[in-house]
Amino acid sequence: MMDLSLLMMILGALLILVLCSVLSFKYRDLGFYGAIVAIILGSSAITLSAPHLIYYTAFVFAIGIINLASLKVIKSVIQGVDYGLVGLMVLVTLYIFTTQNLAMILAAFVLVSVPTYILVMVREGGANVEVGIKYITFMVLATVLFLIGAITLAYTKNAFNGLLYLLGYMMLVLGLSIEVGVAPLHEWVPDVFTSADPIPMSIIASLAKIVPFIVALRILISTSNSLTVSITLFTAVLAAISMFTGNIGALTSKEHARILAYSTVANMGYVLACVVVIIQPEYFYFALTGALLMLFANAMGKIGFFTAIKSGGAFSPTMYLLAFSFIGLPPLMGFWGKLFILFSLVKAEYIWLVALMVLNSAISIPYYLRLARELGVGWKANLTNFICIAVVIITLITFLPDWFFRGMEVIAQALRIAI
């Protein structure tokens, strides 16, 4: 009964989104308000049916609202539809933990991915077609690999075949890697990040990264078996390569957007490392907490920095706080993300990966500080600064993340999906 009303409310939210998007061709603002109403409706639906998800929902809600607000900074040619697209992505991201159905989960994966195809081309007074082609080509490849991998894994769950399992695992991880930009499959990231408009980039670099990881984690957990332990090494190596590529790339880049592109590659490496902990199910909730905090911290930082790039700088203290969060200074959110990931990796006995991750955090210090120094300007009361202050506040909310962690413990138990 509960599930049905949840579904009804989500469908209602979707309906509002579609209607408002259509109407927004005439009244642009309607798209914005429609998206907000839809997100509020979706969030309340999720909170009512699954109260333990409240913290996750709150964070996603906040990211969504800030993403929508930041879209106000540019005047895109697709008028209010861009709000609708972001609203759709938020709804899907909210929904992802509540279903046990493989088809729904895979649909969610696609539904978060496809809106970004359009968003990436958004810019003032035209469409960024060249970037779009590059991006879409990669995304299609990623989606195909991911879906085939997921289906193959699901198949082996019921009719076990070692070779098929390995192939499925590989395809899923490789698809995920292309989708979020894990090195050495990250080629699209620096190009797209630097040539697309910073505002849509801030959405692709924040909101769009959450669902792919959750979907991958849920499928991998549900299908793990005795072979997982040996194949995990591959993921760990991939994560390590991504960390180094991202951090060294960012360290030796000058352009701000390019630094953020490589920083994304590095951060995705950190999050990918959590996949390793599947081999230690009893400690997996540490990894899940770490991955989500890392993704949220990454989202907050990317939104702040990209908005600052768009407006030629933002209030200096906010830039530094975001940089400190990325570096991983306590008590900011980035610190807790890294701490929980490191702790879970220790429990999974991947000590070398822990060492490399700590080393990489050290490598990242100079370029984040440089970014903060160059993007930091004096105070001005404008939308950019309000967005930056909002993301900084959210970054500081996890001063003592005990409550978040407790919530994750419950969520981690219901991670497996019905196959």
Binding site: I178, L185, E187, G249, L251
Partner: protein, 637 residues
């Protein structure tokens, strides 16, 4: 009132109340007005500590979650030790702060002083009340940082009155004249030397025990798991932190040059914080380890034997060094080291004697705290009045400074153990404890204790005599004013009367009173009285000048801090500079690492041509390759 609010106010009131003066550091007008606010913050702590003592139930633990998964929480224990020690700390800090309002008037950086002074107090309170070792270590490090700030407070090194040692005095390669900035550095470097092993010991306990709460750790089984060698190594690492903090031999030098700080700092440092922290933590650990029940644990006895003798030797060393000293504060510093040594020794004796020995150590700490703080405050006032840091002032001067004169008489006689004054009863307990060691350790501890007590009485009498009775006439006399200063030490010394009342009325100290009537105690007390009287009438013996100079130079122990350790440091740095540098530089700065970064960076950059076809080639190629490898590998599996 809610308990969490009590603790929050207790720890944060001093810190928060000193924030305004920090923010106003540029305005002379405001920094002159704001110190009372900082003092008020400490007063709030006094009220809270009294509330904990009088209202909250005893032996109650209060735990507030921080990161429970890692066993790291805000855990506070209101046991017998911490309830009293908390009040002692807060009250002493408050009295000294009141005194400081006068003493620090017109100082060149009041913001620095008050912030670190209050941080110092708050850190010590954290150490006192925390049950969690990690939280305790947080306070412990706060003590270290604040002591650095306060000892080097007069960082300009521009006034000889802030120095330690005599200008131009040298002994071999040693320059025996230390400025404040150097004093601060010596303190922090010595303490760090012990803090690192201590941190490792706490980490080891964290790894071995399910909890970090001192009162809940199963010490017996913990020691059992790691065996004799493990127990010894673990406790030695822990003791490194305590010994360096409490300035026990051979780590005592920093305490002597810590006298370069303002006198208020010396007073607080020596009575209720810092040096007392080391001894207090040892007492607290021993209280919960209950070593007298763990005679089956191998290795534990050696550790306690070591502490016993390090304590007794520090006691004797401090007293002897003090006997040769002519600087007001350094003499008191040496005597503090001696007293702290006795606290360690009697707490360590609990291994053989039991619970009583810990109580003796704790009560001696309490009596010593108030007496020594009074003496320091008096000497600060004297330094202001005579503008000299050396002992000086005859009877004529004493009559003008009648209040400090009387306070000094009370503080010294009550501290050295003259019957029937306060410390006598505690010292009697200590005599009894050392006497009990006869079967296991022999008579040596008792002999060392008696020797220390006698010399100690002598140096206290010397302090009194050379400042007010038989000292040289001061070159400069400024005996008026100082109302708040007088108030500070009069209040401080009057607590000694409260303590004697408590000793006679409290259940725990009944054994002290009993011991006070024993012939041995009485004999020791009598010897102490004789030494006191002799030193009072003859504070300087010209025939022993050479020996006195040797003692005044702290038996050349500065050689460790100022000669041997720097030599080691220079040796290492030369090694690095002459041989290692090229390699290290080449590895980190010019060749290997930069080359690696450059190479990787170039590699990353060459991929990024901007052509989609190239990207697709790379990605598809990689994917295909990996999948083929998996297929081949999977088949082979």
């Amino acid at each position: 009132m809610n308990e969490w609010l009590v603790f929050l106010l207790l720890f944060l009131a001093p810190v928060i109340s000193s924030v305004p003066i920090v923010l106003a550091y540029k305005s002379e007008k405001w920094t002159a007005k704001l110190p009372p606010l900082s003092v008020f913050g400490i007063f709030v702590s006094v009220v809270m500590s009294l509330y904990i003592l009088l209202v909250l139930p005893e032996d109650q633990q209060y735990s507030y979650a921080w990161i429970p998964e890692f066993g790291i929480n805000f855990v506070f224990m209101c046991d017998y030790l911490s309830r009293y020690m908390g009040v002692i700390t807060a009250v002493i800090a408050f009295f000294i702060a009141v005194y400081g309002l006068d003493y620090m008037k017109g100082d060149y950086r009041p913001s620095w002083y008050w912030f670190f002074y209050n941080l110092f107090t708050a850190s010590m309170l954290v150490v006192v009340y925390s049950d969690n070792l990690f939280l305790l270590f947080v306070g412990w490090e706060g003590l270290g940082a604040a002591s650095w700030g306060l000892i080097g407070h007069w960082f300009r090194d521009d006034d000889d009155i802030t120095y330690v040692g005599r200008e131009g005095r040298k002994a071999g390669p040693l320059v025996l004249h230390w400025p404040p900035s150097f004093g601060g550095w010596r303190a922090i470097s010595t303490i760090r030397f012990g803090d690192v092993p201590m941190f490792l010991a706490i980490a080891a306990i964290w790894a071995l025990s399910p909890t970090l709460n001192i009162s809940e750790i199963e010490w017996g089984s913990l020691f059992g798991t790691i065996g004799a060698a493990g127990t010894i190594i673990l406790l030695l690492c822990l003791l490194m932190g305590l010994f360096t903090k409490s300035a026990q031999v051979p780590f005592s030098e920093w305490l002597m040059t810590a006298m370069t700080g303002p006198t208020t700092v010396s007073a607080l440092l020596h009575s209720a914080t810092m040096v007392a922290a080391g001894a207090f933590v040892f007492i607290k650990l021993t209280w919960y380890i209950e070593p007298w029940t763990l005679h089956g644990v191998h290795g534990l006895e050696y550790v306690y034997l070591l502490v016993l003798f390090v304590g007794l030797l520090s006691g004797l060393y401090g007293a002897l060094a003090g006997s040769g000293m002519l600087e007001r504060k350094v003499l008191l510093a040496a005597s503090t080291m001696s007293s702290i040594g006795l606290m360690f020794a009697s707490a360590a004796a609990s291994f053989w004697v039991g619970h009583l020995a810990v109580l003796v150590a704790f009560w001696y700490m309490a009596v010593h705290a108030f007496a020594k703080a009074s003496l320091f405050l008096v000497s600060g006032h004297l330094i202001h009045a005579t503008h000299s840091r050396f002992l000086c002032g005859g009877l004529e001067f004493g009559k003008k400074m009648i209040t400090p004169f009387i306070v000094t008489i009370v503080a010294t006689t009550f501290l050295v153990g003259i019957p029937p004054l306060t410390a006598y009863w505690v010292k009697s307990g200590m005599d009894e404890v050392m006497e009990h060691l006869f079967h296991e350790v022999g008579f040596l501890p008792l002999i060392l204790l008696v020797l220390t007590s006698v010399v100690y009485a002598g140096i206290m009498a010397k302090f009194l005599s050379l400042n007010f009775i038989k000292g040289e006439k001061p070159h400069h006399e400024h005996t008026e004013g100082g109302g708040l200063m007088k108030l500070g030490y009069v209040l401080m010394v009057s607590v000694l009367f409260v303590l004697i009342y408590l000793i006679f009325t409290s259940e725990e100290t009944a054994e002290f009173v009993h011991a006070g009537y024993a012939p041995v105690s009485f004999a020791v007390g009598f010897a102490v009285l004789i030494a006191y009287v002799v030193a009072l009438s003859k504070p300087r013996i010209s025939a022993l000048t050479k020996l006195g100079t040797f003692f005044n130079d702290r038996m050349y122990l500065p050689v460790v801090n100022d000669y041997i350790m720097p030599k080691i440091g220079f040796f290492v740095s030369h090694l690095v500079q002459d041989y290692g540098n090229r390699g290290i530089d080449g590895f980190f700065n010019t060749k290997v690492i930069p080359g690696l970064f450059g190479g990787i960076s170039r590699g990353i950059r060459t991929i990024q041509t901007g052509y989609l076809t190239r990207y697709i080639n790379i990605v598809l190629g990689l994917v295909m390759f990996i999948l083929i490898v998996v297929v081949v590998g999977g088949w082979w599996l």
